[in-house]
Amino acid sequence: MTVTPLGIPRRLIEFTLDGQEIRVPEGSTLLEACRGAGKDIPTLCEGDTLTPKNACRVCVVEVEGARTLAPACSRRAEAGMEVRTDTERARHSRKVVLELLASSTDLSTTPRAAEWIKEYEAKPDRFGADAARLNEEPKIDNDLYVRDYDKCIQCYKCVDACGEQWQNTFAISVAGRGFDARISTEHDAPLTDSACVYCGNCIEVCPTGALSFKSEFDMREAGTWNEDEQTETTTVCAYCGVGCNLTLHVQENEIVKVTSPHDNPVTHGNLCIKGRFGYQHVQNRG
């Protein structure tokens, strides 16, 4: 069990959401307000432990009087705003954005992508068979995790988690520009030659499965990955005195990956290399 601190009380502001007057604490994003009101807005680049880069644009909503749509994940609610989440215009943009994403990247391991594509009637195929795709081979250069950038939507979450928002290692960044922009190490070097410390916090935040445990990647390749059969057990890391929480994902009595609860006020889902990857000794049944 984790404890979430309440923080200092904030002033409430009032605005209209889909015609309904609602009140939220000052500083709340429109997305928080929507979730509070039970509305399900699709999101990809937004993450519960990071400041969103609002780059994916699937969460756009219509703000009365604004020339363009607003990203719900980042726009703060203002008193008197009139916000509509389900207008034709907003739905159109979400649909096209999903089409653009699905036509250029592999969303097969992105949770909920298929569901949203159906809901918004997106047809990623309509750009034709020759539509440019990322088309990258998975980068397998170490035994701990795999980078499959064909699945990357460039949400910047891994960059932020590796860099200034959490880990402060700055091993990866966005290189290049436009459609050629890619997540990359310095000089595009293999991970083993980079500054990476294998904390795996980037995997923790990746919304598409572009970053995954080598174990998960191999099992998916072999067709043996089966989330329905997995159990999750949250426990305490035994390595050092920090006491991070680990969630062990177990399939057929083997640990297949390790995550960490995001609502933990100390670690916010971050771990170090030992907690994240050092689990083999548990299953040395020799």
Binding site: T68, S93, F127, A131, F179
Partner: protein, 626 residues
């Protein structure tokens, strides 16, 4: 942070280039080769070095200027000096079109294939170069040539720019603090502009850029030069751009004196009363922007002059900077005084070597004579200007992308709010204005807001199929037809692109459109950056549209999905319908509309939001693909 560096070492040349900018390293912590005993006992660099991150872009330029490309060793050395993680610096270096992270020859030729040049023979130039120098991008004989977006020389299209890496030509320019070892190729850094370009002239200039024929004076771009009634252009071609005294003889620095008389609040009031709105395209009231910046409690405040003019067809800022550089310095000083800033950044696009040289000279002159520095004009007000050179990225004209670029980050736009007046450069209140907006401040303060209102003018960049291309200054309210008549209308005018690639096409029968912000808006188009590109019957419209789409695909920063992927899908669709019309094009046009709408609605910044405007207007107003 964990700074990790590979084994690559810089060459002597690369090290010298960086040290010339930053001074020699103080310790092994900052990249010196030898560890001293003191280095083993305490760490230096760190925070202090990190605060110089804004030297990253100048550092990349220093290496690129010296060697022609940025090697691993050079980048790592620069990172050590500035305590910047190499992955981030690599991300920055690969963002800009003028830098390379793979070896290439010292001489790079950029050949413009953009709108104005395309109508005036850019294809033939490229074909000729292919014959003489080989395919674009392939190095031969110490030269590589490549296609380039608009070089801002549209009045002299087709245009080419040669950049030769090497030792700094005049030691003063890069302020070397250590004796620089001779560059291996023995080359000196040099640039040459060839416009109008022929393949022969380009090859010649590439073989010895330092000896290439000088560019024509800035007046050549001002067909009205010397005429009565000019306000913003009145000194261009008349005043000696290298002489501060000459500038003063033509009325220079009276506006600043007036500003000092009025005080900061009075200056802002005058600018507000004048009704001046930003000339960069957004038409935001300048006085309000200054007021909002001045009143912010956070300090320091900054002023930024956006001279990253990269809109295809735009070259007015270049002409003003080259022809009347002190005017811009004076205007920036006034902006600084009014908004309470003591430092101004002048961000000039990297493709404008002559404008950079002239302003560098003018700034050092102004500094030496007390027009910049600790005590401007003896008024107890401190103000100075730093020049920043862009490195080939249209998106850096977006003000928040420009801030990131100056700060040493990738030139990606930030999402607004917060707005720059509140959190701009280095997170501080910032007033950002473009060149044309700023120089308008001079007549406002010299003659007063009322006189200004009565005779407010606008600059237009006219190019394409006209007989007298160049910059025109016209009172607000002149019509498109009047402007084109001045510039020499082509016999068979087919279309006019108003406002540049982000603007829209209008038909030959729409010549009555008044050239005002309201007038163009009422006509369903935009004044944008003041571009007027005329096309006659010989120009194949579908090719032109494809070039516009290519431009946006190349220049998208890649941050948000609608723009990063949308611009690619737009270009693909335009490729498919290049030779098609009617029913055959209908599905793709429908697709374009849907993608275009999402780009307009959901992109983060103006680039994505306008990337479909020109194509849309060509379909709707010109009946392209009918």
């Amino acid at each position: 942070m964990d700074l990790h560096f590979g084994d690559s070492k810089p060459t002597d040349d690369e090290r010298a280039a960086v040290d010339a900018l930053l001074g020699p390293p103080a310790s092994a912590w900052e990249g010196a080769d030898d560890r001293t005993d003191a280095d083993l006992r305490w760490a230096r660099g760190g925070r202090e070095a990190r605060e110089r991150r804004d030297q990253l872009l100048p550092g990349l330029h220093a290496i690129n200027d010296r060697v022609g490309w940025i090697s691993e060793g050079a980048l790592d050395y620069l990172c050590r000096r500035l305590t910047v993680p190499p992955a981030e610096a690599y991300g920055v270096a690969t963002f800009y079109a003028m830098f390379a992270v793979k070896p290439r020859p010292a001489k790079v030729v950029h050949v413009c294939t953009d709108l104005a040049c395309a109508t005036r023979g850019a294809r033939a130039v490229c074909a000729g170069l292919e014959e003489r120098l080989g395919a674009a991008g392939s190095a031969s004989g110490g030269v590589v040539w490549q296609e380039s977006p608009c070089l801002g020389l549209c009045e002299r299209a087709p245009a080419a720019l040669v950049i030769q890496a090497g030792q700094p030509a005049s030691p003063g320019r890069l302020r070397p603090r250590t004796p620089a070892p001779q560059s291996p190729a023995g080359l000196e850094f040099a640039t040459a502009v060839v416009a109008p370009a022929t393949p022969e002239a380009v090859v010649l200039a590439a073989s010895a850029p330092e000896a290439a024929t000088a560019e024509p004076p800035a007046t050549m771009a001002v067909p009205q030069a010397g005429q009565q009634g000019l306000t913003l252009l009145k000194r261009v071609g008349v005043v000696d751009p290298a002489s501060l005294d000459d500038y003063r003889a033509y009325g220079g620095y009276t506006a600043l004196r007036h500003a000092f008389d009025l005080g900061p609040a009075g200056t802002i009031r005058e600018v507000t009363d004048s009704g001046l709105v930003g000339r960069g395209g957004a038409a935001f009231p300048t006085g309000r922007k200054w007021q909002a910046t001045a009143s912010q409690p956070a300090h320091p405040h900054y002023v930024v002059c956006n001279a990253d003019e990269s809109e295809p067809g735009t070259f007015k800022d270049r002409v003003v900077m080259e022809g009347d550089p002190y005017a811009l310095i004076e205007a920036m000083t006034i902006a600084g005084y009014a908004t309470g800033a003591h430092l101004g950044y002048l961000y000039i696009r990297g493709e404008y070597p002559r404008a950079v040289r002239r302003l560098e000279h003018a700034i050092s002159e102004a500094r030496a004579r007390g027009f910049l520095g600790d005590d401007v004009l003896g008024q107890g007000y401190a103000f100075d200007i730093e020049i920043r050179r862009g490195a080939g990225a249209y998106i850096c004209g977006e003000e928040t992308a420009l801030f990131n670029s100056i700060e040493g980050y990738r030139g990606e736009p930030r999402s607004k709010p917060p707005f720059p007046v509140e959190k701009g450069l280095f997170g501080k209140p910032t007033a950002a204005n473009n060149v044309e907006t700023l120089v308008n401040v001079l007549p406002i303060l010299t003659h007063g807001a009322e006189a200004f209102r009565a005779s407010e003018t606008k600059l237009f960049c006219v190019s394409g199929n006209v007989t007298r291309p160049g910059i025109y200054e016209l009172p607000f309210g002149a019509t498109l037809g009047e402007l084109l008549d001045l510039a020499g209308r082509p016999e068979t005018l087919k279309a006019v692109l108003l406002g540049g690639a982000a603007g829209g096409f209008v038909r030959p029968d729409e010549m009555d459109i008044p050239l005002t912000f309201e007038g163009t808006r009422a006509a369903g188009t935009t004044l944008g950056s003041g571009v007027v590109l005329a096309f006659d019957g010989t120009v194949p419209l579908p090719r032109l549209l494809l070039r516009i789409a290519e431009f946006f695909r190349d220049e998208s920063c890649g941050q948000c999905v609608p723009c990063r992927v949308g611009t690619v899908r737009q270009e693909e669709a335009l490729h498919r319908i290049l030779d098609r019309t009617g029913a055959e094009a209908a599905t793709d046009i429908a697709l374009l509309r849907e993608v275009g709408q999402a780009m307009k609605d959901a992109s983060i910044c103006g680039l994505g939001q306008t990337a479909w405007n020109a194509v849309e207007s060509a379909i709707d107003r010109l009946g392209a693909y009918k």
